[in-house]
């Protein structure tokens, strides 16, 4: 009798062990922190929205596990951002982070993330994230300043540029662009480099110093509201006809084109996102974003979307087991995703690698300015050999 009962118990136990895997799994928690308030919110909010879009395209279920996005607001301030990341990691126990675009916040967060061993895909264009501060847990899905400036210089060289001017923000990306241009053209061929402060309203003192007889073109390394402003003034001075303006990185991003003067047709750039590129993946991205948020996505949205896409693929590769951080970061560093702009991946220091396009601002069929996608520059990598 006793043994019968034992047998029955064992039987039940065996049966129970069989159905165990069907038990509901804990959702994958992903921390999504961006500047939602403050001066950078105009970029942070849409980028966060594009990340949301990428996960919605998967119906928020990846490898059979539900995905939960936890949002926080860094306000673009480093100490606020660090406290919020601590909240996501220590209070909400997120498995990974897809967060941030402000470089000062990135610099503040990086040592903490490395110490806590939390996989973090950032869109912070901070070159040091894949250099002095590199960590197996830190991924940067955005070109570094050296990367996009070197690509821009190569692109301009193909147009026959030999001598150039630079006008750039008096901030790390502006200064690092200067370094890259000096390497690419030779220090003596950068005729003059000027560094107005972020948010300068009058560029006349700088523009009037530029002499079209001395150089082939002008590079502009400034973004946000400053990009249309300098373009406007550059056009007003009549310089755009004599000496083309070449915007670095997201200078001609879609959300800024609306503020550019009609005469900015012909404005050049070279970047990893071109809004009008005719690929099925880009159409799906643009249409998906437009139907959700009623506007065209630009390069910030693209970075967020792709950072999420890389993470989604890596989660699939490890079959949803994000708890094994070693395996997950290994998978993430090997991920290859065909995105709107073609194949893209991470390099050996976990920086972004992807195709760039030579861009030119033209009038679209609806009379509005848009980027036309020129020559493809395949698989642009962070130039570690030039800037170790």
């Amino acid at each position: 009798m006793q043994s019968m009962r034992l047998m029955a118990t064992l039987g039940v136990a065996a049966f129970a062990s069989l159905i165990q895997p069907a038990q509901a799994q804990e959702p994958i928690r992903i921390g999504v922190m961006f500047p939602i308030t403050g001066p950078i919110s105009a970029q942070g909010r849409p980028e966060r929205d594009a990340i949301k879009q990428a996960f919605e395209e998967e119906n928020n279920i990846i490898a059979g596990r539900k995905v939960e996005l936890l949002y926080e607001d860094s306000a673009g301030r480093p100490d606020t951002g660090l406290t919020k990341v601590k909240a996501l990691v220590e209070r909400n126990n997120v498995h990974l982070l897809v967060s941030e675009l402000v470089s000062a916040v990135g610099a503040a967060v990086a040592p903490y993330v490395n110490e806590q061993k939390i996989p973090w895909v950032s869109t912070v264009a901070l070159a040091s994230l894949t250099r002095e501060m590199k960590s197996p847990y830190i991924f940067r899905y955005v070109p570094s300043s050296y990367q996009y400036a070197t690509a821009a210089a190569e692109s301009a060289k193909k147009l026959g540029w030999k001598k150039v001017y630079l006008i750039g923000w008096n901030a790390p990306p502006g200064r690092e662009t200067h370094e890259a241009l000096k390497k690419a053209f030779g220090p003596e061929n950068v005729i003059d480099a000027m560094f107005p402060n972020v948010g300068t309203s009058d560029y006349a003192p700088y523009i009037s110093k530029m002499d079209p007889s001395k150089a082939d073109g002008v590079f502009a390394a400034m973004w946000g509201a400053d990009a249309p402003r300098i373009t406007q003034q550059y056009v007003e001075y009549g310089l755009s006809k004599k000496m083309p303006l070449f915007g670095i990185a997201s200078f001609t991003s879609e959300e800024l084109l609306g503020d550019m003067p009609p005469e900015s047709e012909g404005l050049l750039s070279s970047y990893t996102y071109c809004g009008t590129l005719d690929t099925p993946e880009n159409k799906a991205f643009v249409e998906g974003y437009k139907s959700r948020y009623k506007e065209l996505p630009g390069s910030y949205q693209y970075m967020g979307y792709m950072a999420a896409k890389m993470v989604i693929q890596a989660i699939k590769d490890v079959n949803g087991k994000v708890e094994d951080r070693q395996a997950f970061t290994n998978a993430l560093s090997k991920v290859q995703v065909k995105g709107p702009m073609g194949m893209t991946s991470f390099d050996e220091n976990r920086g972004m690698v992807g195709d760039f396009y030579a861009l030119k601002v033209v009038k679209g069929p609806d009379g509005r300015l848009q980027n036309s996608c020129g020559e493809r520059i395949p698989q642009v990598k962070d130039p570690y050999h030039l800037f170790p």
């Binding site: 607001d73 480093p78 100490d79 990691v89 220590e90 209070r91 610099a107 901070l126 501060m133």
Partner: protein, 317 residues
């Protein structure tokens, strides 16, 4: 002047001390970290209260001393490898010297002119921190400041020991500030707040009193800044920015200027709002704005002023 009986005061202190000792063992590391942040900003707000609430000098550049001390402590710890006993006093010294120099300039003015010159001086400091890239790291600041090292081979690596370290220093500072404001010197500052000309007529050298208060305020703000570097383990120009000066000013006003405890409570409330509410709604800044409007309309003397007037009402005329 209201008076508190010594027995009640002792009871209050005993409860506060017991609470402070229990906290690290009941809170999760994240919330304990938030408590440390509240305490640091409480000290920062109390140091400003010495100027605004007690002496009547509304400064909009108090973050200058907070930030300068933070930079000096961060830099000496990072590049020279100094331990806490060297890096922290170096920061305090720097902020006291800066407060002394700025005081020489700023104290020639009063009212809105004082507000403007303190603002200008602090933005000057911000400009230096932002522009001197080779030393300060510019916009990105100085990341990876080492943990506070007490002596060779022993650093405060965990949250609990740092909590006690910060709590000890902040409690000591709070007590010192209380003693300062309760002393004849503090009474004299109150006199200056009420009427400078009368104090002058009574034969007080008011400039000397104001100068001392100004430097003391800078010194305690500097301690808060240095602790904040060790807490965050980085420093950036954001520490000195006018937004931070305004933030601490709001903490003082929210809690009630001239009470010390009020600004400390105001600091705790703002830090809590900023970090707890923002997880639920992205409109947390708006909510913070509502709080300010409500306080300005219904409690112009801050929360402590509100409590005081309610108590008076209950006690009857």
């Amino acid at each position: 002047m209201k008076t508190t009986s010594p027995a009640r005061m002792a009871l209050f202190l005993a409860v506060a001390a017991a609470l402070a000792l229990i906290l690290p063992y009941v809170l999760t590391p994240y919330y304990l970290g938030l408590v440390v942040k509240m305490m640091i900003f409480a000290l920062f707000a109390m140091s400003l209260d010495l100027l605004i609430g007690f002496t009547g000098m509304a400064s909009l550049g108090h973050a200058a001393y907070f930030g300068l001390s933070a930079y000096v402590t961060g830099l000496t710890a990072l590049t020279l490898g100094w331990n806490v006993w060297l890096a922290l006093p170096a920061g305090l010294m720097a902020s006291a010297v800066a407060a002394g120099l700025f005081g020489l300039l700023a104290l020639r003015t009063r009212g809105s002119y004082f507000l403007m010159i303190t603002l200008a001086l602090s933005q000057l400091m911000w400009g230096i921190a932002f522009g001197w890239r080779s030393l300060t790291g510019g916009d990105d600041g100085l990341p990876d400041v080492p943990r506070p090292r007490l002596w060779q081979g022993y650093s405060l690596t965990d949250g609990v020991s740092f909590y006690f370290f910060a709590f000890g220093l902040i409690a000591l500072s709070g007590w010192l500030l209380y003693r300062i404001t309760a002393s004849p010197f503090g009474q004299c500052l109150r006199g200056i707040r009420e009427s400078e000309t009368r104090m002058l007529a009574l034969g007080y050298d008011i400039w000397r009193y104001k100068f001392t208060a100004f430097v003391l305020g800078g010194l305690f703000a500097g301690l808060a800044g240095s602790l904040y570097v060790y807490y965050n383990r980085f420093v950036s120009p954001d520490y000195i920015h006018v937004a931070r000066s305004a933030e601490v000013l709001l903490m003082v006003i929210l809690g009630g200027a001239g009470t010390l405890i009020g600004p400390a409570v105001g600091a705790a409330i703002i830090v809590a709002l900023e970090n707890v509410i923002s997880a639920y709604t992205e409109r947390w800044v708006m909510l913070l704005g509502f709080v300010y409007v409500i306080v300005a309309l219904f409690a112009p003397n801050g929360l402590t002023g509100l409590i005081e007037s309610l108590r008076k009402k209950r006690a009857g005329p």
